[in-house]
């Protein structure tokens, strides 16, 4: 009994830690989701449609892509292909999270998958790596803690943007909050040489292959970076054994 109670309180504190860790990232969710609401209305979608897209898809970049292509009257097949390519990175998030949460009930995993945004992956994977003794319940609680403010703000501010028809003024340069927040997510991951090498390979590939269509540069950069990081780790381990 006592163990159950303390398990609960650990899970509860993990939930709140997740919510707190995600709080600074509201700064990107607010302008981005409001902008989606505005862009959707400008494209002629009604309030219900704007909200339906944010709720059914919850993946900002792919929603912008889909709306832009639909406006250009691209065939449905092309719209889907382009928008899904933007989300391809999430398959990698899913694979990286699997060893941590694969034992959770499938219903919970389905909810986690539906809500899997960039912040949820980046913050959770860092938390799990930093605390290898976390129990499954705490890992799940942390993930849902991160998601609560992120997705709550995503729905809420899409609605506000769509109703007001006005985004955050461009003079505030909040477009730059997107890369800045991603930098804030990735900086703590630079723990050792292999991670730094992987990040450099990722940047280099993104620059060299910037002109590839359908977000292929991103997928290619991630794959090459993962190989570089893994190779570097193996090489360092071998050198340590020989020394």
């Amino acid at each position: 009994m006592r163990r159950g109670v303390s398990g609960n309180s650990h899970a509860r504190s993990a939930y709140w830690r997740g919510a707190r860790d995600c709080a600074p990232f509201i700064i990107i969710v607010v302008p981005y989701s409001m902008l989606f609401g505005v862009v959707a209305r400008d494209a002629g979608l009604d309030l219900l449609q704007a909200m339906a897209m944010s709720i059914i898809v919850i993946a900002g970049a792919s929603q912008f892509t889909a709306v832009a292509l639909m406006q250009e009257h691209a065939p449905v097949f092309i719209v889907l292909l382009a928008a899904l390519a933007v989300n391809a990175r999430m398959a990698m998030y899913s694979a990286a999270l699997q060893p941590h949460v694969g034992r959770a009930p499938v219903r919970l995993r389905a909810i986690m998958a539906y809500l899997m945004v960039d912040q949820a992956f980046a913050l959770s994977i860092k938390e799990y790596d930093d605390h290898p003794d976390m129990r499954l319940r705490e890992k799940l609680a942390y993930y849902f803690g991160v998601i609560t403010p992120a997705c709550g703000a995503w729905y809420g501010f899409t609605f506000l943007g769509a109703v007001l028809g006005r985004a955050v003024p461009p003079e505030l340069s909040l477009h730059f909050a997107v890369p800045v927040c991603f930098i804030a997510l990735v900086a703590p991951m630079m723990k050792n040489l292999p991670h730094v090498v992987a990040a450099f390979v990722s940047i280099l590939t993104a620059v060299v292959f910037a002109d590839l269509p359908y977000n292929l540069a991103l997928v290619l950069a991630a794959l090459l970076a993962m190989i570089a990081g893994a190779r570097c780790e193996v090489w360092l381990a071998r050198r340590r054994v020989m020394a």
Binding site: Q71, A91, A221
Partner: protein, 109 residues
Amino acid sequence: MISDSVFWAVTVLLGIGTFLIRFSFMGFLGKRRMPEWLMLHLRYVGVGVFPALITPLVLWPEATGGQIDAAHLLGAAAALAAGLWFSVAGAIIAGMGTLYAVQILQSAI
């Protein structure tokens, strides 16, 4: 105008497709253990994806029409430095603060 049928077809199919991408490994593999070589590579998903997401947004921002711009480069550098040595909030404040400061300088010149 986007026709209702196109909109709903795209939204529902995009929703299902995106869900399946997110569910994929986490959902269908369940508690099965992945091979060691794959686990090794998966440690680098974060540092593989995020720098490639960030790079074009910093180098060729839409706000400048895709032109390389000092304010964006310095802002990104400041965010990285603050993120490495301080905190998430520090990185956001340093990044946005540097961007604003350089933009004010640029408009003053």
